[in-house]
Amino acid sequence: MAGLDEGAPLFVQIAERLADEIADGALAEGERVPSTNELAAYYRINPATAAKGISMLTDDGLLEKRRGIGMFVAAGARSRLLAERRKRFAERYVEPLVAEAGRLGINADELIALIRESSYAQKGTGA
């Protein structure tokens, strides 16, 4: 398994990897995604597992099948994915961040200052 070891079911990890690539724009809309067998060979997993990951994204409408050619990134997939992630941003990142800050006695103003600092630093390095 090439870099897949985070404990979540493998097919979920495969789906997340592909979703990340769509969100990044690395896999553009209309582009062909790797086939089940290509994914299986790359990640060293069972093709049925790779197929389950692909079908998760198909069910979500992020991928579409073109008969006889393969799976492609659906139109509008990236914007829908980003909208979905923005919706979950607070719950996934902000809430744990605030909780940990509270545990460390970092107040809201200090936290905001830290975020600003980090954001400048990342812009500065071109990240």
Partner: protein, 298 residues
Amino acid sequence: MTPAISVDGLSRRYRGQLALDNVSFDIEPGTITGLLGRNGAGKTTLLRTLAGHEFASAGTVTVLGASPVENEKVLRRMVFVREDQAYPDIRVRQAVQTASWLYPEWDADLAGSLLEEFAVPPDRKVRKLSRGMRSALGIVIGLAARAEVTMFDEPYAGLDPVARQLFYDRLLADYAERPRTVLLSTHLIDEAAGLLERVIVIDRGRIVFNTGADDLRGAATMVSGPAIAVAEFTAGRSVWDRRRIASQESAVVAGALDETDRARAAALHLHLEPLTLQQMVVRTAATSVTSPQERTIA
């Protein structure tokens, strides 16, 4: 779909000892199944019975729709690669040639390229091969046979990690090209876990789990953090194991966790870590063994 392998009420007795105890399962065609368990759990006896090398004391075994025992029609459609396979006094080339006559779907090109990749010298006598090379020869024959039912019993004695990775890669590649029913018994569970679609865990002759590999991975979770929080989270749940150091505790909770559980764990500052396939099998074996020093799957 008719199962590729069907075992019903299979028992095998050796001098009063039950090596297999009322084992039943079906394997769908075109799946890769891992047969996991400790040494002496009955894996080899089971595979040998499927290959027609052993007789059932009770129950029935059906492979590709018929009994494999002395059944040439079935045996030609299956290949069984044993740990430490014995060969007569012949050269590698002859061993491969002999195998090509046995299996109707034999792929000579694949055999040739695999021998090269595993660096097995074709003109060397099989008896002069190192242990690892002899394992590699078994793997070459097992893959090139392209048999509908392909069984590997701990096929990699003496193989280094690079060669084992090559085995996994070639198995997956050829399986993708020619889907077939693969049954692989192994101790190197985490290494092979990704390959497996189904998992059969056997302990002391009995089947403990027969399930999808993904289902088993999520079947238990290690919960760790402040002991008070762990106690609160695990209240009313089935807990397999608890360990404590100072005010920290970790507990293994059986059963899948849902979103609500995860949110609750996060609120309690608990760390969640799903058990890997290997950890699951170790736990399973450990719970049925009394002697603590034997609690490993070597």
